[in-house]
């Protein structure tokens, strides 16, 4: 099992203690293999972002076992196994697009940064905007720069926390297509947090449906739509069936409350 990227065994996360004790995640068991595209979906407060942050070593579990590429998350972080994209692009205003993409490489002391950066900008189709500043770009373009920046150092795991949540529907669908293309080209494993059912189904190989109080994974649904996916996929019968399946899984847990 060398190609297991994420291995979570009965992972839990509790914030605070005493009166303020909140159990954010409980008994999370999830295994993600290399090359998978997994979406975490669920209502607000189900802990999907917290789970992503645990995987990315932005916070630590309070119980259970979590390994990334067979290592503790902190080790995986210092090995630079993670590329992260947030809902906000969080680009540095005083740096051009190229310089933003080069930032991780600068910190890691990598040479030939401009070449890597221009290759990444080709990948996200922003080569013409290399010398622009972030504020001169649209929201979708900024998010593409953020994706390029996350991929410059070839992380084995790409973590995306509602990356298209702030974009309009049209841009959103375009970006989903882009992400699938980039995923196919780079072969990176992706963990993707979203609260959009169609988005989760369109992008993922598997969808983990989560429920709140405490956050749990209630169901993992294999999507199994053929690759590559495109506009036709969105209009196919199988796609529609999978969207329905995820929606019903989400409604089942609502009914249980």
């Amino acid at each position: 099992m060398t190609d297991l990227v994420v291995d979570a065994q009965r992972v839990g996360k509790v914030f605070g203690d005493g009166e303020d004790r909140v159990e954010a995640l409980s008994e999370i068991t999830l295994r993600i293999e290399a090359g998978e595209f997994i979406s975490l979906i669920g209502p607000s407060g189900c802990g999907k972002s917290t789970l992503l942050r645990l995987v990315g070593d932005l916070t630590s579990p309070t119980s259970g076992e979590l390994t990334i590429n067979g290592k503790p998350p902190a080790r995986a972080r210092t090995d630079r196994d993670y590329g992260i994209v947030f809902q906000k692009a969080t680009l540095l205003d005083w740096r051009t697009v190229t310089k933003n993409v080069e930032l991780p490489l600068e910190i890691m002391g990598v040479d030939d940064r401009d070449q890597v950066a221009s290759r990444m900008l080709e990948l996200v189709q922003l080569a013409d905007f290399a010398d622009h500043y972030p504020w001169q770009l649209s929201g979708g373009m900024q998010q593409r720069v953020a994706i390029a920046r996350a991929l410059t150092f070839n992380p084995s795991l790409l973590l995306m926390d509602e990356p298209f949540g702030a974009l309009d529907e049209m841009t959103r669908e375009l970006m989903q297509q882009e992400v699938l293309r980039i995923w196919a080209e780079t072969g990176t494993t992706v963990v993707f947090v979203t609260h959009s059912i169609p988005e989760a189904v369109f992008l993922s190989t598997r969808v983990a449906v989560m429920s709140p109080r405490p956050g749990r994974i209630s169901e993992v649904i294999d999507i199994g739509l053929s690759q590559p996916r495109d506009v036709d996929t969105r209009e196919s019968r199988q796609y529609y069936d999978k969207v329905t399946q995820v929606r019903e899984a989400l409604r089942r847990q609502e009914a249980q409350e």
Binding site: R80, D93, I107
Partner: protein, 294 residues
């Protein structure tokens, strides 16, 4: 506003931003001069003496203040403006050194506090308390201690100027270093960035606009510090001395005092201008393009 509109009409878009600024500055100065002269005219005509007597001692004509600058300080001496220019250089040297010391010290304190909550909690009260002590009270002490240690007087004055400079710089640096989006810090964490990389590649660039705001405020404060600091030193060379002696002769020499005040203001504007110039070089003008086309 009126000037701005006509100017935008006449000039190109790029030219107008600068000349608009020049025109508005000139407009303000001209308006103030007019108000001064109008007050004199009306109050003299009606014989009013409140709140200020409009006579030529208390309120000399604006042009007389300027003309006074081009008269000898005393019979056979140098022109007032030449004398004041020499003094300005002296005071500017103290102020600039104090400004630099205070700026570096303030920046250092900001960095130290942002890295150590403990240090911030332990020392912030003293930093704040230091600013409640009136400068007039500590200035003579600094000078006396300095002389005891063999420190040249002008350096003691610079230290007094630094005392006024470091606080706003420290507070603004601290605020600026804390200004980046928490997600950006998390990104740096995910790159396993060293603390120094986080500081120089993220926090300091984010803090620059905050730091420059403080530097512009303290550029003038450092001049005030130098002027005040000069008084207890008792040297004859600076602008502070000139202010003191001319104010003692106000009843007969009021125009000289006004002239000196004008020169002090000019020195302050010079220093702030220098800081602004540096700011324009170091801080990317994020909205510069938007401004030019607006």
């Amino acid at each position: 506003m009126e000037e701005a509109r006509t100017d935008a009409h006449v000039g190109g878009a790029r030219l107008s931003a600068r000349s608009r600024r020049t025109l508005s500055v000139a407009g303000v100065v001209l308006t103030l001069l007019l108000l001064w002269e109008l007050y004199k005219l009306v109050w003299s005509a009606l014989g009013w003496t409140h709140p200020v007597r409009p006579d030529d001692v208390v309120m000399p004509h604006t042009w007389d203040m300027i003309i006074e600058l081009f008269r000898p300080v005393r019979r056979g001496g140098a022109l007032l403006i030449v004398d004041l220019a020499g003094r300005s250089l002296w005071t500017l040297r103290e102020a600039v050194l104090g400004f630099l010391i205070g700026g570096v010290l303030g920046f250092g304190i900001g960095v130290w506090f942002v890295r150590s909550r403990l240090a911030e909690r332990a020392f912030m009260p003293y930093v704040v308390a230091s600013q409640t002590v009136p400068i007039l009270a500590i200035a003579p002490m600094v000078v006396v201690w300095g002389l005891g240690l063999g420190v040249p007087g002008w350096i003691s004055v610079a230290i007094i100027a630094a005392y006024l400079t470091f606080f706003p710089v420290a507070i603004n640096t601290l605020r600026g270093l804390r200004s980046p989006d928490p997600h950006t810090l998390e990104l740096m964490r995910s790159y396993a960035a060293a603390p120094n990389d986080v500081l120089w590649k993220l926090q300091v660039p984010s803090a620059l606009p905050y730091i420059f705001t403080a530097l512009k405020v303290t550029a003038t404060a450092s001049i005030v510090g130098a002027l005040v600091g000069e008084l207890p030193v008792g040297f004859q060379s600076g602008l502070g001395r000139a202010l003191l002696s001319f104010s003692q002769q106000f009843a007969v020499q009021s125009k000289k005092l006004y002239g000196t005040v004008i020169v002090c203001a000019a020195v302050g504007i010079l220093l702030v201008g220098g800081v602004s110039l540096l700011e324009r070089r170091l801080v990317p003008q994020r909205f510069a393009e938007g401004e030019a086309t607006a």
